[in-house]
Amino acid sequence: MNREHLFRNAIGDNNQRIFRICNYFFIDRDDRNDAYQETLIRIWENLHSFKGNSLLSTWIYRVAVNTCLSHIRSRNQRNNLIESTIDPEILLIPESAGNENDFIEENKMIFLQQFLLNLSMADRTLVSLYLENLSTKEMAEVTGMSETNLRVRIHRIKEKIKKEWEEKQNGTG
């Protein structure tokens, strides 16, 4: 199988994942799209080094996370939530935001974006991988952190998001 074919297969199966990971890191559309493009470039460049020691998806997550962190450090990440740059499609908000369920969903996703923005890079990475349903072992493979450390950190993040959501609902946050 040649490089181009391998690349097309790898991207074809993991395109959505890469896009979502970039979306967890960047709220700005241009930044996110740049990171997405850059991730594809890194995958193209490094595909020959994939030896099959881990799942291709885990390997791709690793490249995506490293590329996003790399992109963050080279650009001034906007810290504030800028309404105009939020991509409703990526926030998974239905276009016909008419009924109550859609409104709740929209609120939920905006809350998640705000929550992510206030997390440290390591925690943001962990949340993005957790939301992608990666096991602790896979998350450890991606980040290089110990599984014990990961469990503790995820637990803390879970506590934090629960508390902040409750505060938001009670109007105290």
């Binding site: 181009e4 690349f7 991207i11 395109n15 959505q16 896009f19 979502r20 559309r29 799209n33 997405y36 493009q37 594809l40 470039i41 890194r42 193209w44 460049e45 490094n46 080094s49 994939f50 390997w59 690793r62 490249v63 996370v65 490293n66 590329t67 962190l69 790399s70 963050i72 450090r73 080279s74 499609e89 990526i90 998974l92 939920k108 996703m109 998640l112 440290s120 890079m121 390591a122 925690d123 990475t125 949340v127 957790y130 939301l131 349903n133 493979e141 991606v142 980040t143 290089g144 952190m145 450390n149 995820i154 993040i157 879970k158 998001i161 629960k162 959501w165 409750e166």
Partner: protein, 199 residues
Amino acid sequence: MELDDFKPAGKADTIDVKNRKDVKVDPLQELIAEMKEKDKQENKVLLGIILVFGLFVVLYLSGMKLQKGAMQAGYAMLAGGFGLSLLFFLFKFLKQKKTDYTAPTLVFLREAERRYAYWTWQELVISGPLLVLMGWGGSIIVTSSFEKYYPGSILPGLIFIMVYIVATGVGYWAGKMQWDKSKRTIYKKIRRMKDDFSK
């Protein structure tokens, strides 16, 4: 609301990335062009280093052939110093070029920290003896060249060494200023991220 409640739960798979106008999903054409351009630029830098240092090596090797005694030793030291520096810069350049995006994030950040540091202690340990070798070779050449004006005096050699030390210091300082301007912020960000992942 739990963290698990924010999982896309299959819904995200309905995002039609392929039909998004703002995302280039099939970047192969652009990608290859971009890669070629990047390689071309990097090769230019590499060629520049090889040319400058290689020129000095050739120059001092020729000097070595033409001279005798102490002068020959001086030229040999300079040629050796530049030759080894050339290897050092080539190694540094190739290492910098080869960023491993497939490594676990923590390893990736540690590597990035090393790459973006102004001079690591390992680099200082390597470059120190090279600078001494070149300075020593240079002072021998200067002392020998001025032998007929100042017979038996080491003064010209000492003056050269002082100028050499000042020039090296100024070079280091200027490089540091440039690093402060272009890389310090990135370096600090990398360190922060690495510390965050290591906690």
